[in-house]
Symmetry: C2
Subunit: 326 residues, 2 copies
């Protein structure tokens, strides 16, 4: 019988807590332990286990690849947090804040290499297949991060480019995680590709939802003004689509608010940006976009040739991810 | 017939110039092209080709692994230069100086991943063997860099630890490069290990020589006062051995010069540090240490089971590296 997502989470967090890092050069490895210890939902490694579980009950063999994706993900967080000058991660100090930037660079590097090491344990033919997808995915994630950085200083970002960016930066790792699990479980090439497409499109839908919540959720739920994306002038789908939807004058105003010339900051910026986005009902369009990617994802899941009950945990997981309210 | 080192350098630089990086996200890949374009002796990729050339004339197959080690080496330079706050590399601006720190972090990351991608081209059994050694070596290099950083703030560094640090940070990649070449050429496991040990011990000897030249060469050759290692208070073999050799008072004085309490800087620091090191004749000990590692290296080369004439290029190369005067 297929395991539930919470069972898989338990299996993974137990496996993670049993991992031993080298005891030499603790200044190199302590930050790795620290960041991994901050917790999180372990979405990516759980997807590896879930992908494998669609093809069999034996999940031990998938744990290595689950570690590989979790290590990779945390390596990218460690370095992205430096680039974003982020002070907090899951409510605790980021690595470069708690230690220093050099530490976060070097511990991140070793974490990436350790991610690769987890791939060594697989039989040669499977290993080279996993390695190839791992490389492809990793390159895309770097390119996605670069696009995100590029967007900060560009005023001609298109919606297509934005989708490409979030697909690379966030979504492909979800797809790859599921695909790894499937490959380890013995999925056909076709199944592996459908699993990848399911995960990737769920990832895009998830990110669009995240963008919606960032602008609209906090006011509804708590009356708080947050709107981090507007504060940081992130050129999300909501912003880009609003530019299209708004009349000429309002569209120019929104573009001005996001420009370097604008001196309005903080709550005033969030209030005005949000009001413009509300006026053009961009949320409706964003919801539709999200649902399109969600449907695309589920059509790929449908094409995976395993019994329907084997797909239930993934469906439940995806629904839970996509229906959260904040 | 075995190719000479300069022939191998030509083969490698031609191969490198034909490499095409992705044209998407130029902000990510331009710094990679820039750093690789700064030149250098290409010691590591040439060692890959030389290792392969001991076993056959067909070197095309070794080019991929040559790229892997050259990419890895340059990734580590890109990140180390950030950590060391170095402004110049081969007489030109370092990546973080020419672009910015975030660029040097992310372009370095993708360069590491691209290094791994070059391993994909090998047949499965060989690939997994190369991959495993590549991971081991990469981890050691990170640990070596961490030790180097740790030494800056430690006052109890031992000579054994120093050798361990330079072995990991610098020498193992030379050993691994030769080993990769041998493996690709079809070396036995025993030969591959001897090639590794040859390269590693040459690397240690090379670093000790570098330390000697840093303190003593510039005065002899040009009368210039440089002595970057003393300026940066690097705890090299010369410093650590001098502490042992000097009388109690002088030894305390040298330790004081390298401490945070010392306010003597610049040329005055170099002059006094160098004088103390000269007084205890540490150079003689360092030369002996270098020669010991050199002999150890050559004894491993002797154990490699190929005809003696196949070893000539490596011998010449090692001699050239170890006999440079500045």
């Amino acid at each position: 019988m297929s395991k539930s997502i919470s069972e898989l989470q338990k299996i993974y967090s137990d496996a993670l807590s049993e991992l031993k890092l080298p005891t030499v050069t603790p200044n190199l490895y302590d930050p790795v332990t620290y960041l991994l210890g901050l917790g999180g939902k372990r979405i990516r490694p759980v997807l590896v286990l879930a992908g494998c579980n669609m093809y069999g009950e034996e999940l031990d063999q998938a744990v290595g690849m689950a570690h590989a994706v979790e290590y990779f993900h945390n390596f990218s967080l460690m370095h992205d947090d430096i680039m974003d000058k982020a002070d907090l991660r899951r409510g605790k100090e980021t690595v470069h804040k708690k230690y220093d930037i050099n530490t976060a660079i070097l511990s991140g590097d070793v974490m990436l290499i350790k991610a690769y090491e987890f791939i060594e344990q697989y039989p040669a033919e499977l290993q080279v297949a996993l390695f190839k997808i791992f490389n492809q995915t990793s390159v895309k994630i770097c390119e996605g991060q670069q696009l995100d950085i590029d967007f900060e200083t560009r005023d001609d970002v298109t919606i297509v480019e934005y989708i490409k960016m979030i697909s690379n930066k966030t979504a492909v790792l979800l797809g790859a995680a599921l695909r790894f699990g499937g490959m380890i479980g013995g999925a056909s090439h076709s199944d592996a590709e459908h699993l990848y497409a399911f995960g990737k499109n769920i990832g895009i839908a998830f990110q669009v939802q995240d963008d919606i919540l960032d602008v609209f959720a906090s006011t509804l739920d708590s009356g708080k003004i947050e709107g981090g994306d507007i504060l940081q002038k992130k050129k999300t789908y909501l912003y880009l689509k609003s530019l299209e939807l708004l009349g000429e004058e309002d569209s120019k105003r929104l573009a001005f608010l996001y420009s370097d010339q604008n001196e309005i900051q903080g709550d005033d910026l969030v209030k005005e940006g949000r009001a413009l986005m509300e006026n053009c009902h961009v949320k409706v369009y964003a919801q539709e976009l999200k649902e399109n990617y969600q449907q695309l994802a589920f059509s790929h899941l449908q094409s995976v040739s395993v019994a329907e009950d084997k797909k239930e945990p993934l469906k439940t997981f995806a629904q839970a991810l996509l229906n959260r309210a904040n």
